[in-house]
Symmetry: C2
Subunit: 426 residues, 2 copies
């Protein structure tokens, strides 16, 4: 049985109990949320990932995209990225590799870490075709389902499928007003194949087959947004919302079959549209967990898109988004290196934590209160311990003062906290 | 006459005309906003700073705090920081020096740049007392007014004064519930002196004298928030709001005298309180421009507080705040170095730009649209030109591809934009 099926039947699986404990939430309440499709625990039964709850009333989670490309392919680097993900507190990793021996890269990633792991199976299909000198027009639905099945057997915990690009949503959409058209790799490939063959999207046409595979292995579906905007100009248009309407239908069909499902969201979205995008997903997709890519509320911050993504992600999560896909400083420019991965994770964790405070989660507020008290007492060790990056905070503090004294180089003798303490003594 | 007095009389000063042009706003409309106290142009008549409008319907501005401390005092470093401020697009610099020969440091800073320059005069007084081995209890009101007058003559464009800490607001306040008490240096010093001497805050008691000086030189007052929260736990409490009520009274008295005035705001504020803090300032302070310090919606991100500040600043500015004081990665840990200054400016500029799009300013949206079109055309030069940091964006792009070709190391051959262009050709 899947975690969803167990929750519906009132069976508290070890994973449900573990999530209830880490989230500080009553197991019965959590089971109800899972049964309603509001929370998922991506947990392929062929693997043993850390039980991780994603969805309403749980803390906001952070995903890190890693993986090779045909231009940069270095397995050791990718394994080092996984270590960074673990060290800096990502909750999930997506292997988006498109270069090298994809099956064995994925196998190693699944073994190297217990973080939940996601993939986009169509990348492997497209990448194999590309290496054979073929194009996406040589694609067949069987290739994709064979790939999905193999990855499910390998233990992949969640998979992105662009099943919302259908004849109907293609018909509804009008790209003429967009500045950037389609920026989803999976989306652009499927559209290319569909326009050329006049066939329906196989992920939609054979969705029941997909659900069979996912139910069998308890793979969580992540319904991708192939029509997501790639520029703030293109956001929240008919194209994007038509696809979201289809995703809502697919959410219903998945949960009815006992398959866990979440929905992916944009992308490039102006700040003033972010809350509405979250509300729309929750409404059209029956409260399924919302997994946002950023979002990025400006296009002008190349080399700093981790900050742009944190600004958008904090607002999205505070508005109800559940899962933040990080954006690294390398986004739009090159494949991320180790430092990019670290910066991306930390920026998204800050956004997630800020939103968790706004969501009223007591675990989150408690951290800030501990730090505030420690600052008053100039107890630097406690400040560091609860900080998002203890190592760097300690290093910066020590740059200009050799000990952990009560003096720092910013205020020197004119320290407000010290002056104010004298007031308390009066 | 001050810019405010000219605006009231319908005189379009060269500064008003320059701001109208750079903000793409009708000069008559701008004059009305200035006359209403909703926009200020800090512009000491003894200096010739770049005319910079701050307030409603103008673009969000960014301030960079620089300056020495008694532990780190290096004038060349501070001048290099000014260069960074100019290169990366800060609109304003505050010299918060407390170490070295403060008068000559300030003089050099005023000469080195045409960015508007602000100070906190009480720092100079406290710093001189400290160097003489005296405490703030040896302070006299005359010292402070002499300092303010000297700085006004030197050409300082705006000054932070903590005039809202009064016998009344001290009485109203109850610090017992706070975790961090007072974290404003000026605020803690004035409170210390007031509790000890039982005297009224001289900045409040002799406020008319302060207005005389400001009117004479057209110094813009920046009403400091000495009671600002230093931890999200302490935000939006009676202490903070009592002071804001006094600041509202002082705004009215300043504008009635023809003195330009803005109001400073927190500080550490949980995300869900930020919009209310902006609305409260606009309401209690008669729509005076709001100059926020961050705000920081979490206390746990030491060494990354530029990101925390950008998350808070974007929401504050989108909610109506007009002027963002940057926060650097060094905040709470040490005095910022050159890289910190750069990171702080860029993070705040991203927040300001995101908010300007949300505010509906056409100048802001136009930048993003140019970049989106250039991305579609793989016109990297145009992407770089309009990016927040063209140099770094170019450097990152070139890391893994030697030319500005249409291939980057992230997607390699599987580029969605290229695939989608093939669709357009069908």
């Amino acid at each position: 049985m899947t975690q969803l099926q167990m929750a519906i039947q009132g069976i508290a699986s070890p994973e449900i109990l573990a999530v209830a404990e880490s989230e500080n939430i009553d197991p019965q309440k959590l089971m109800k949320l899972i049964a309603n499709g509001e929370v998922v625990i991506p947990h392929n039964r062929n693997r043993n990932a850390v039980p991780t709850g994603i969805g309403s009333q749980t803390s906001t989670k952070v995903n890190a995209n890693i993986g090779t490309s045909d231009i940069m392919c270095n397995l050791e680097l990718e394994i080092a990225k996984i270590r960074i993900c673990e060290e800096y507190g990502a909750h999930s990793v997506m292997d988006l590799s498109t270069g090298g021996d994809l099956d064995s890269i994925r196998k190693i990633m699944l073994e190297e870490s217990r973080l939940i792991l996601g993939t986009v199976p169509i990348y492997a299909v497209a990448s194999k075709l590309d290496r054979q000198g073929k194009s996406i027009l040589d694609f067949s639905p069987e290739m994709l389902f064979t790939e999905i099945e193999r990855q499910a057997e390998q233990g992949v915990d969640f998979m992105t499928v662009h099943a919302g690009i259908t004849k109907w949503s293609l018909q509804a959409h009008d790209m003429r007003d967009r500045l950037l058209g389609i920026v989803s790799r999976g989306g652009s490939l499927l559209k290319r194949w569909m326009l050329s063959t006049k066939e329906e999207n196989p992920l939609y046409q054979y969705y029941d087959k997909l659900l069979d595979i996912c139910e069998h292995h308890d793979v969580t579906l992540s319904l991708g947004d192939g029509f997501r905007p790639g520029a703030i100009h293109d956001a929240t248009d008919a194209t994007q919302i038509s696809e979201l309407i289809v995703l809502g239908e697919l959410v219903k069909r998945a949960t009815a079959r006992g398959v866990q499902v979440m929905v992916e969201g944009p992308g490039h979205v102006p700040y003033q549209d972010i809350a509405a995008n979250v509300q729309l997903e929750k409404s059209l997709c029956h409260k399924a967990p919302f997994y946002v890519l950023g979002p990025l509320p400006t296009d002008f911050a190349g080399a700093y898109d981790h900050i742009t993504g944190a600004i958008g992600g904090a607002l999205a999560a505070a508005s109800g988004a559940d899962f933040l896909c990080y954006v690294t400083p390398a986004e739009h420019l090159c494949l991320p290196d180790l430092e990019d991965v670290k910066q991306g994770i930390i920026a998204s964790r800050i956004a997630a934590h800020i939103a968790d405070i706004a969501k009223g989660l007591p675990n989150a507020t408690a951290v800030d209160d501990k730090i505030a008290k420690a600052r008053r007492e100039m107890d630097w060790e406690t400040v560091f311990r609860y900080s998002v990056d203890p190592k760097l905070a300690r290093q910066r503090k020590s740059e200009t003062s050799s000990d952990l004294s009560d003096r720092c180089s910013m205020c020197g003798n004119l320290c407000a906290i010290k002056t104010d303490k004298e007031n308390t003594l009066d």
